[in-house]
């Protein structure tokens, strides 16, 4: 039988046992979900299966023959291909080079690259993924979701037999996710075995045939999906009974006050058009829409990262027609950006430093920085958010994806922003930590911070926001109150209509 079988895999980084004695198998034609909290070892297992890392001990068998460990190209040649959590993207190269670097097509005895054939295949694969991307533009200039698609396409140009997906939907919205699920089902019919990692449990229940749960690097067990329900799965992941209550709605009746920010007729050519809204102190305004609807672009304009062409922002008693990041920070605007690796973190610096960067001024004393309070503040944040790290002095890049995300949120908690912009704050964060993040967002709002929340997860938007603005193709499709909004309405409004509004 065609299957990929791991045999007692172990791996440690310094003092961290990232994986202990993992034995599991993936059978051709099944979707096998891999679940676990942040830092459970999922990505580490995937790095071993795809040859990026070499295990300390253990073996992997494919079709009953041992797989060459630690060699990405040899493993890919066997048809075992992975899409990693952080997209494999070379920002300065175009899509063709991104897809083919490392497996170039050569001709004339290898002295000349076959550009035409590579370009043709790139166009084909992008077309089957339903993406109309330019193949000459540098990939770094595309949106995060488009980059994710390029990274996916890189895996799919292979005739794969085992496809490993590490949180592929983390930066996709409902529609792209649906097209990905369609693709997964097609592959499954063709007898491809799929290992699927996601923190969105509804996806796991929708797609998977079997589930393996990891906890603290060890395997808890493998179950057929029909033997599990949401609560038992969470129990296996966390190791104890946790009532993950849906976030309780904060009292919605807020006296109308002077808005913190009033945006009128904001435009930026090619990104968004005629956007007007206001947020009051203590209010959470949700922003919903498909990927590419212009949500992040608006957030970036409010934070002064991008310019806007026309319109103005009334904020802090001033009317701004242009704004820089320095202005934004000086006037109490904080932002959790979409891309943690490129924009949210200083990867080589320690967890502690990353957590304290925005609030360094709080720790200034007559001798410079007060190391003692800094250490204790950082320590508190680490415990509060459940950031899994060997010590706060480890570099941020050694943390698992979800734990990195927790730093990006955590660093704003000790500043007291007037306006907090959250762009996909719970991307890649596990169930337990997600409700903690929700709790924190609500606590901040209760203290009077105005919050702009961008999220592709409809339940998150629906349960947290006081009002919800839906965007489509850069245009405001209306602002709904919490009572009016339902998943169906949000989805319907976020889909482009036939009349096709152009910007």
């Amino acid at each position: 039988m065609e299957r990929l079988k791991t045999n007692a895999l172990s791996k440690s980084y310094g003092g961290t046992h990232a994986l202990k004695d993992i034995s599991m198998d993936i059978i051709a034609g099944e979707v096998h979900a891999l679940c676990g909290e942040n830092g459970a070892g999922k990505s580490t297992l995937i790095k071993i299966l795809s040859g990026v890392e070499r295990p300390d001990t253990g073996k992997v068998h494919w079709r009953d023959a041992p797989l060459p460990l630690g060699k990405v190209d040899a493993i890919e040649a066997h048809g075992v291909v992975a899409v990693h959590q952080e997209p494999v993207i070379f920002p300065h190269l175009n899509a063709v080079d991104n897809l083919f670097v490392g497996r170039e097509h050569a001709m004339a005895c290898g002295i000349w690259l076959n550009q035409a054939s590579m370009r043709k295949q790139t166009q084909n694969i992008l077309a089957t993924l339903g993406e109309a991307l330019s193949v000459t533009e540098p990939v770094g200039e595309m949106s995060l979701a488009q980059r994710q698609m390029v990274s996916m396409a890189r895996a799919l140009i292979h005739q794969c037999r085992i496809l490993i997906l590490d949180e592929p939907t983390a930066s996709l919205s409902a529609r792209e996710s649906a097209s990905l699920f369609g693709r997964i089902n097609v592959l499954k019919e063709q007898g491809v075995g799929i290992l699927y990692v996601s923190h969105r449990l509804e996806e796991v229940f929708k797609l998977a045939d079997r589930v393996t749960v990891l906890r603290d690097g060890a395997s808890v067990g493998t179950w057929a999906i029909k033997d599990l329900n949401r609560d038992t799965l969470i129990k296996h992941m966390v190791g104890r009974e946790v009532p993950v209550a849906p976030p309780t709605s904060s009292p919605n009746v807020k006296p109308t006050k002077q808005p913190v920010i009033e945006v009128s007729a904001l435009c930026r050519k090619g990104a968004f058009n005629d956007i007007s809204f206001h947020i009051q102190p203590g209010e959470i305004l949700g922003m919903s829409g498909l990927v590419g609807a212009g949500r992040s672009e608006i957030a970036r304009a409010l934070f002064g990262v991008d310019r806007f062409d026309s319109g103005n922002i009334l904020y802090g008693g001033r009317t701004w027609t242009s704004l820089t990041i320095q202005d934004a920070i000086a006037h109490g605007i904080a932002m959790v950006p979409e891309d943690r690796q490129l924009q949210g973190l200083v990867l080589p610096l320690s967890v502690e430093t990353n957590l304290l960067l925005p609030s360094l001024a709080n720790h200034e004393c007559f001798r410079g920085l007060d190391q003692g309070t800094m250490r204790s503040t950082a320590g508190d944040l680490v415990t509060q958010l459940g950031i899994k790290t060997e010590s706060p002095s480890k570099p941020a890049e050694s943390l698992s994806g979800g734990n990195q995300q927790k730093i990006v949120i955590g660093k704003w908690l000790h500043t007291h922003p007037t306006l907090l912009i959250l762009d996909e704050p719970t991307r890649g964060v596990d169930v337990g930590a997600k409700s903690e993040v929700h709790r924190i967002i609500q606590a901040l709002a209760a203290k009077g911070t105005a919050i702009l929340l961008i999220s592709s997860e409809l339940p998150e938007i629906l349960s947290l926001s006081d009002r919800i603005m839906v965007l489509c193709g850069g245009c405001n499709q209306g602002i709904l109150s919490r009572q009016e909004a339902t998943q169906e309405i949000l989805l319907r409004r976020s889909l482009p209509t036939d009349s096709g509004r152009d910007i």
Binding site: V88, P91, L93, V101, L113, G140, Q341
Partner: protein
């Protein structure tokens, strides 16, 4: 109208080769107006001969910068290679035939590059440290070999590499042209070229994609070493005296050319056309100053202007990356 000028300017800054080309053209026009003899064949030939070895090394060094590393040892390397070549070829010392001296010089260059690359990729020492060490060490070895003496008696076979011509064009210029064409092929038409860019563009992703990062880094350093050997062979025989001071400060000139040519100091970006324009521009400047009739001050000016250019190039890079964001 203002928007139009802005657009043209943005294009020039973004496509460095085009911008530099225009700049060189304007400069040429200006100098010719002041002093028409600038465009004489003899002068242009001199500039080309001066530019050739710089161009040869720049083609290698650009690839080092594209991978995100740096090599500041090429000046001392050229010094050592010149001493070795001199000692092997000189009539009074080795008196070995060119057929032996040429491959040996190239081989030593490549070995030194390999050593740089190995220390960076496999021993994991930052390239700035490795090559800074080499910069000092190789100069020391050169002084040991030369032991305070000079070599003046290079055989005619070796001399030909520096001073000979073919179809009226100096051998060194032909060689630079060949190296440039080979580099174009390497960058655009080979797997290794694409991988060099990928590694510099995103090292994390390169690891996940399983690219052979270490061998590629060794390759770019070895290639630079080899090209430094080539540059030595075509430039040093032009000199009447080979001493232990050849190539001092060369690394800075080469890095300036590469960076002015639009290569990003932190990897991922680099364009051979831009680098070639950078080389031509930087070698022209000193000549231009002489022709602008600045007299004595010309040499002082040329240093200052080089510095301004490197700052200007970095500012332009900065400006581009801001433009991209907005």
């Amino acid at each position: 109208m203002k928007g139009g000028i802005r657009k043209v300017f943005a294009y020039m800054v973004r496509y460095r080769a085009a911008g530099l080309f225009l700049f060189i053209f304007c400069l040429l026009t200006l100098v010719t107006l002041v002093n028409p003899t600038f465009l004489e064949w003899q002068n242009l030939r001199d500039i080309a001969v001066q530019a050739a070895p710089i161009c040869i090394i720049s083609c290698g060094l650009m690839l080092v910068l594209v991978t995100g590393e740096i090599d500041i040892s090429v000046g001392s390397m050229m010094g050592l290679l010149a001493a070795c070549m001199g000692a092997m070829a000189s009539l009074s010392r080795g008196n070995w035939p060119p057929g032996v001296v040429i491959p040996l010089t190239l081989g030593i260059g490549m070995l030194l590059g390999l050593l740089n690359g190995w220390l960076v990729a496999y021993a994991g020492i930052p390239s700035i440290i490795v090559t800074l060490g080499m910069l000092t060490a190789l100069r020391g070895v050169t002084e040991l070999i030369m032991a305070g003496t000079w070599i003046t008696d290079l055989p005619s076979g070796i001399r030909f590499l520096g001073t000979g011509t073919w179809l009226g064009i100096p051998v060194s210029v032909w060689t630079a042209l060949a190296v440039f064409l080979v580099s174009l092929w390497l960058v655009h038409q080979t797997a290794i070229g694409k991988r060099i860019y990928a590694i510099g563009s995103n090292p994390h992703a390169a690891r996940l994609a399983g690219l052979p990062i270490k061998p590629i880094k060794v390759f770019v350093f070895a290639w630079t070493g080899l090209l430094t050997g080539v540059a030595t062979l075509v430039s040093v025989p032009q000199l009447s005296v080979v001493d232990s001071g050849i190539g001092v400060g060369l690394e800075l000139l080469v890095i300036t050319c590469v960076v002015v040519g639009g290569t990003a100091v932190n990897g991922g970006i680099g364009n051979l056309g831009g680098v070639l324009c950078g080389v031509v521009l930087m070698t022209m400047i000193s000549t231009v100053l002489i022709f602008m009739k600045l007299g004595e001050d010309a040499t002082y000016w040329s240093r200052a202007i080089q510095g301004l250019f490197i700052l200007g190039a970095i500012l332009a890079d900065h400006w581009i990356s801001n433009q991209r964001k907005t």
